[in-house]
Subunit: 207 residues, 2 copies
DNA sequence: TAGATTGTTAATCGATTAACAATC
DNA sequence: TAGATTGTTAATCGATTAACAATC
């Protein structure tokens, strides 16, 4: 096995590099050094080179990186050349706010389906997406080639929903419900517990 | 200086311990061991003892921890015995969803003010909070003893808002705008970039 | 060639895990 | 006393940082 798994921090930073380098490329700046990239993102030059080094060597000694080429390489590595279909499960306040949030599109993220268990909500249209019954979950996820799901249900339903999502073939879950989801190892879950983030801030406020 | 700064991971876990131990205490269970706490949260017993050890010794050798006492100690350490007033700046879709989100209250987090720059929104009432002009920011934050701010403005305004917040005496910021805020070292910023979290998931989806 | 900057190996740092003496 | 479990010191692990030879 040549799997020397890339740290998650590296992946997160690579997206930042891509954004920065692409911006420069579009501005007509042809090359940039690792230390300049680092300066713009408050990171060290070594950090930048190390992160890139996980995926190959993209630079030229003495000259730096070609912004256009590096952008293209990173886009490929990070899957930014593809479109990603997302579904949202649980169309309450947070769920509908996310449906209406327009910031995703520019990142190649498309909300392709929305599900709810409440019959009163089913059939309603939000941002040109019709809310479907949760019974459609599996069928719709497969038909629409959805690979990422956002869970914005109440805590009590989150695990059940997660189970259905896994069965439907979802690979990644962004979970807003404040519960630790039990899923197979190969499913990637990112928890976004807003209350918990605020709690941690209160600790710093109280010193 | 006896400052052996506590890792942020420890703080995060302490909130989880508190929730768990308090639940048990309310169920009438008097004592619990570090390994039982760990089992419930998928952590090792050592992790639990180490984390608690940052703030003192709360257990009894051979017996474990008194759930009632440990709850009380943790509540004090974490500032959970206090109420925290929060303001939201930028009452767009995400901002108003957060205003309406009812999940914060049970954690002692109170949304006490909301600000927006758009005259059309000022004066409107959401969840019994009147949206104020951003010109009121400083005055209102001081009067209402607000110590945490949530930024849900467009990216372009986020830094300006952050500057005003810092000037107004805010200690912590939860930032949803996808920009790195420039603030003094003693201000704690927690970035919640939803697109970025999804991006990272897409990487795992593409393997 | 001289200067700049890369890619990589070695050193450092911090956090997690293991080991164990102390103690109820 | 024997068993259980704590609190803490030492070992391990992974990620960040420093050092530097290779190279354009």
């Amino acid at each position: 096995m040549n799997k020397k798994k890339t740290p998650e921090g590296t992946i997160s930073r690579l997206f930042a590099y891509l954004r920065e380098v692409k911006k420069l490329s579009e501005l007509g700046i042809k090359t940039i050094s690792s230390s300049e990239i680092g300066d713009r993102l408050n990171l060290s030059d070594v950090q930048v080179r190390k992160d890139l080094g996980c995926f190959g060597s993209f630079g030229i000694s003495g000259a730096g990186y070609d912004t256009g080429e590096l952008s293209k390489s990173l886009e490929k590595i990070l899957g930014k050349d593809k479109q990603w279909n997302i579904c949202i499960v649980g169309i309450g306040r947070l769920g509908s706010a996310l449906m209406m949030y327009s910031g995703f599109k520019k990142d190649g993220l498309y909300i392709a389906a929305a599900f709810d268990a409440n019959p009163k909500k089913i059939g309603k249209v939000v941002e040109s997406i019709e809310i479907e019954s949760i019974d459609n979950l599996s069928k719709s996820i497969q038909e629409k080639k959805i690979s990422i799901a956002i869970i914005t249900t109440p805590s009590e339903q989150a695990q059940t929903v997660a189970d259905s999502l896994v069965k439907a073939g979802i690979e990644c879950i962004m979970n807003f419900a404040p519960v630790r989801l039990n899923v197979p190892d190969d499913i990637k879950v990112e928890n976004v517990d807003l209350s918990h983030v605020l709690e941690i801030l209160t600790y710093f406020a109280s010193n």
